[in-house]
């Protein structure tokens, strides 16, 4: 019931107003396409795969998982993938910190970041091609080594662990670096100056001021870089030894799906892969909670 002026005279509040007070109005509808997208392209396939993994070709509902953890050819892929992804990510994060600390003071940052983004846009396959040519037995590196006489035979840098390692560093570093740079430039430079005025030397300023403020960002950077490296596939096949050292978990899933045509098994492997990633990311985020997480500014300003 309303008066003529439209003022509410009973306790009845229209549904539209009540919804708006809870943050639901016409604008809310704009998230619908994104929701549909996520449901259609992420949640549905994920749930489908999860269900599929419990419907093996033969045996009980856990048969795929039992098979995975019984077969060394399968379960060792977890270790092999971690053995690639963890050192690569650690290296990328550790190297990007000092470089970002220096680059934030440079004036031609734009140019440098543009150069660094190029490997990302080229994609892993092109980088792998390049490495095959340059580091291969007839590549320029080995020709130089043979000519100078460092070694009598070509140094083996591809079709093994190091080939994949290098490819992951090259394609992963720009991403890690750009993230680290954005976190480092987010720290108010007057904090470091204040540290210097109070007698802290460069090393102490880094340890006492920069690192604690940077740590939460570094954890996020590590997680995102790690997830990228963990799902390595093209470079592990092209530059690695896909039957040996670099038989990563995504290769196992690929073979199950497209060589054995066992989609159920492939889904199970994908689920295990996801589980390992979630486990590591969750552990890191838990670690992050132990640190200060707030604005990295120096106060009002």
């Amino acid at each position: 019931m309303r008066s003529e002026a439209g003022v509410l005279i009973s306790g009845q509040v229209p549904l539209r107003v009540r919804l708006a007070q809870r943050g639901l109005d016409g604008v809310t509808l704009l998230v619908l396409p994104a929701v549909l997208f996520i449901v259609g392209l992420f949640i549905y396939p994920f749930v489908y795969g999860l269900v599929l993994s419990f419907e093996p070709k033969e045996g009980g509902w856990l048969a795929n998982y039992a098979k995975f953890f019984a077969d060394p050819y399968l379960y060792t892929t977890i270790g092999k993938t971690l053995w690639l992804a963890v050192p690569v990510t650690v290296l990328n994060v550790l190297v990007s910190i000092p470089i970002a600390l220096r680059v934030r003071l440079m004036r031609r940052q734009r140019l440098l970041t543009t150069i660094l983004v190029v490997p990302i846009t080229l994609g892993t396959v092109l980088v792998a091609e390049g490495l095959l040519n340059y580091l291969g037995p007839r590549g320029w590196l080995n020709r130089v080594i043979l000519t100078i006489g460092f070694s009598d035979s070509p140094v083996r840098l591809i079709h093994n662990y190091w080939g994949v390692f290098m490819s992951l560093v090259i394609t992963g570093f720009p991403f890690t670096f750009l993230l680290t740079l954005s976190y480092i430039t987010g720290i108010d430079p007057s904090l470091e100056q204040a540290g210097a005025m109070l007698g802290a030397r460069a090393r102490q300023r880094f340890r006492e001021i920069m690192l604690p403020l940077l740590f939460p960002g570094l954890v996020i950077t590590f997680c995102l870089s790690f997830v990228q490296a963990f799902s390595v596939f093209p470079s592990a096949v092209l530059l690695g030894a896909p039957a040996g050292d670099t038989r990563v978990i995504s290769i196992a899933a690929y073979q199950a799906a497209f060589e054995d045509y066992d989609y159920s098994m492939a889904s199970a492997i994908a689920m295990i892969m996801a589980f390992v990633q979630v486990l590591i990311v969750a552990a890191l985020l838990g670690l992050q909670n132990a640190f200060y997480r707030g604005p990295a500014g120096g106060g009002k300003g």
């Binding site: 108010d188 007057s190 100056q193 007698g199 802290a200 707030g294 300003g301």
Partner: protein
Amino acid sequence: MSSKEFRQLRLENMSRDFGLLNALKGVNLTVQRGEFVALLGPSGCGKSTALNCLAGLLPLTAGSIWLDEARIDLLGPEARGFGMVFQNYALFPHMSVRKNIGFGLRMQRRPKAEIARKVEEALKLVRLEAQAEKLPGQISGGQQQRVAIARAIVVEPPLVLMDEPLSNLDAKLRLEMRAEIRRIHNLLGCATIYVTHDQDEALSLADRIVVLRDGQVRQVGTPEALYARPEHADVAEFMGYRNLIASRAVRAGNGVQVRVGDAVLTGVPVDVDEGEALAAIRPEDLVPMADGPIAATVMTAEYRGRDFYGLANMADGTELFFRSEARVAAGDALRLGADPSRVLVYAQ
């Protein structure tokens, strides 16, 4: 680490360029032990650059800085041992108030017991005992300011540098903190260099004021001297002489007579006797008088408690800022005049 006590700090021809811009052009200044010096000037005058050069955060492009017989301008900020209060306070957001204050002592590797005792004293000095365990983000702007001061002075530096420390506070808190800064200075007696663009702050805090303009020292003097007798017209303008009237000066006895429109004013010659001149008068000294030489019409007037302050136009359009004890309103015709000792005459 530099000595705790020094007799004087000398800036000799201190200069700093940014590319083609000369932000500081050969500043010479001597600061005595225990002195409170304000660097005063409009924005862009080089006062913050001067402070950063002193702190060691900016290298000099020419000149030198001496602490007694030791040249310090080649040392990094961490080796100079000066305290600094930043404009945005620059408190470490991840450390409690107590840890922030103790940071400098910890960097000096003082014994734990000594650190604890001195931090406790500093907390008491700035009246923040109750906030000691909070993070900077959990306390108010005024309290953050106190932490920044405590953090800078707890290491007992020979010199404390303050970069517009009150500019982020509201008017009431600014007055409180001004008194607080002076109280702490009187208590500890460490030499302080205080950068500000607010003449009231400089006048009320400093023992000596250095007026900077375009990277050069324009005048050095006590607050009284700067207030009563600025040496240049631009310093006068900055010190509150809002009426700068272009006129012609003629020698008359001990003073000069200046012609302002049809009116003739008597004033004190500062750096000119004859010819083109600027007559500088504070608004509070230009008041209505029965036989005032200047005829003007009130344009606007506002009541500021006790007095009215207003803007009046002369017949030729010259604008004058004046004070009146009696109520005035727009449109009133007034005769304005000033005590001859309060009219300063500068070269144009």
